[in-house]
């Protein structure tokens, strides 16, 4: 084997150092959460009803799944179809496209507490939805919309134009080209964006507490209040009376995130294979 030049060696060492540093931090965080949390996981944590004794996380877990589901239903079609319009239909570089892009970029940079306040005032007060699943899901879906639009746009743009030419060249129209050629090729990227969005929803507290509320029960209907796991943790950590349950909840939250990621990449692979 050829001897490496010093510069090569330094770069090599730096690369490894960064990998080790990243991995260490990750392992420390995950390890800390699991070691402190797992021993405290007990069946009562999953009781259907929250009581001061059991500190059940089940209602919050359900609340999380409901918020995630509902806001994805709202934001994914809107975000994906807007991105399709911008990339495949709108004139490239037109003023309209520029304005929409600027708006989404601005939206993406706004702190979530601002979304929370907006959601509270607009959905909660103005539309009279109060602290509810609806207010929460609408607010969060506005929050993740730019993320979904951007990632979808990027993955559509990364589909080579030669695919589109091939399709048009054989007499397929634009709709068919987009549906049959472009979108299937862009699906992995679109799904990656959705996974990121799920992560953001699960981790959100500020916007959620202002709109869904932070009541320890499962929403009974769309206009009922509730809480998510992150908001639940926030409450537990704030009260400080149940440190064991708080750690256990953190561990469950972490496991839920890992499960959702695994599930999504499994789905991505299935879609790609078919």
């Amino acid at each position: 084997m050829m001897r490496k030049k010093p510069v090569d060696f330094i770069l090599f060492a730096l690369t490894w150092l960064s990998i080790i540093a990243t991995a260490t931090v990750l392992i420390l965080v995950v390890g800390y959460v699991l070691i402190n949390g797992v021993p405290h996981i007990r069946p009562s944590l999953f009781a259907l009803q929250f009581t001061t004794q059991n500190q059940s996380l089940f209602p919050a877990l359900m609340g999380t799944l409901m918020v995630v589901g509902l806001s994805l239903i709202l934001a994914v079609p809107l975000g994906v179809f807007s991105a399709i319009y911008l990339v495949e239909y709108a004139k490239r570089g037109s003023r309209f496209v520029k304005i929409v892009r600027l708006t989404t970029e601005t939206l993406a940079g706004i702190p979530s507490i601002v979304y929370g306040l907006f959601g509270f005032i607009f959905f909660g007060v103005f539309l009279g939805w109060g602290l509810s699943l609806m207010s929460g899901a609408f607010t969060v879906s506005i929050m993740i919309l730019p993320l979904i639009m951007r990632t979808t746009e990027e993955s559509l743009k990364s589909v080579p134009d030669t695919y589109r030419e091939g399709s048009f060249g054989i007499g397929a129209g634009r709709l068919r080209t987009v549906m049959r050629i472009v979108i299937p090729a862009a699906i992995p990227g679109i799904l990656a964006g959705i996974i990121l969005a799920i992560g953001r929803i699960i981790g959100e507290t500020a916007a959620i507490i202002f709109t869904l509320g932070n009541v320890a029960r499962m929403p009974n209907n769309l206009f009922d209040t509730g809480r998510t796991l992150s908001a639940h943790m926030y409450a537990l950590a704030n009260e400080g009376t149940h440190p064991g349950e708080a750690h256990a909840t953190a561990a469950v939250l972490l496991i839920v995130v890992i499960l959702i990621n695994a599930l999504s990449s499994r789905i991505a692979r299935l879609i790609k294979a078919s």
């Binding site: 030669t162 695919y163 060249g169 054989i170 299937p184």
Partner: protein, 252 residues
Amino acid sequence: MAKTNKFSLKNVDLWYNNFQALKNINMNIPSNEITAFIGPSGCGKSTLIKSMNRMNDLVEGCKITGSIMLDDESIHGHIDVNALRKRVGMVFQKPNPFPMSIFDNIAYGPRTHGIKSKFKLNDIVEKSLRDAAIWDELKDRLKKSALSLSGGQQQRLCIARALSVQPDVLLMDEPTSALDPISTAKIEELVINLKKDYTIVIVTHNMQQAVRISDNTGFFLLGEMIEYGDTQQIFSAPSDKRTEDYITGRFG
């Protein structure tokens, strides 16, 4: 034998925004012959071939005037652009199979034009691959991804894909420039065989290729058609000095 013309172009001018890429092109392209376009890079060969199935419609700021007739019917008139592209197929410089199976690549065209029967599709796929001289190589792996094929196989697959919708004309824009000599030879042989059923227009940078396979050759320079005629004639006794300079390699 009287030649019939597949395409007939009159006073064709084409602009990309303010840049005039084609200047007053007049030419007839005979049926069931191979017509080659040659000329230095940027002279408008691709632009011209792409205007024959209106792929230029997709380019923003592209404007075309004059008339292009296909079988005595204007391609800018009543004809639907998708129907036009079904009749006038295209093979591109870089092989561009879709990221799907070999079978689905070929079936995409017929499915687009409304054929659903599995039985018919099987037939079409086999016939197209046979016509593109690649059936024997691929018949056992139709379910495999088209992206797993070699460049030369991909290009023949793309030719099969173009044939799958039974076009009249095949437009080929430097179909062999990304391929090795053996794949190139296979495609040249294939193109010559296709001549009896199709009218073929081919852009090439390879002068020997034009001589080997084409019946007519057009030489282009800076958007103008300098000379057009019988291939033997053009290469043995060009009437324009610029054509001679180009084919003898004293140019660009």
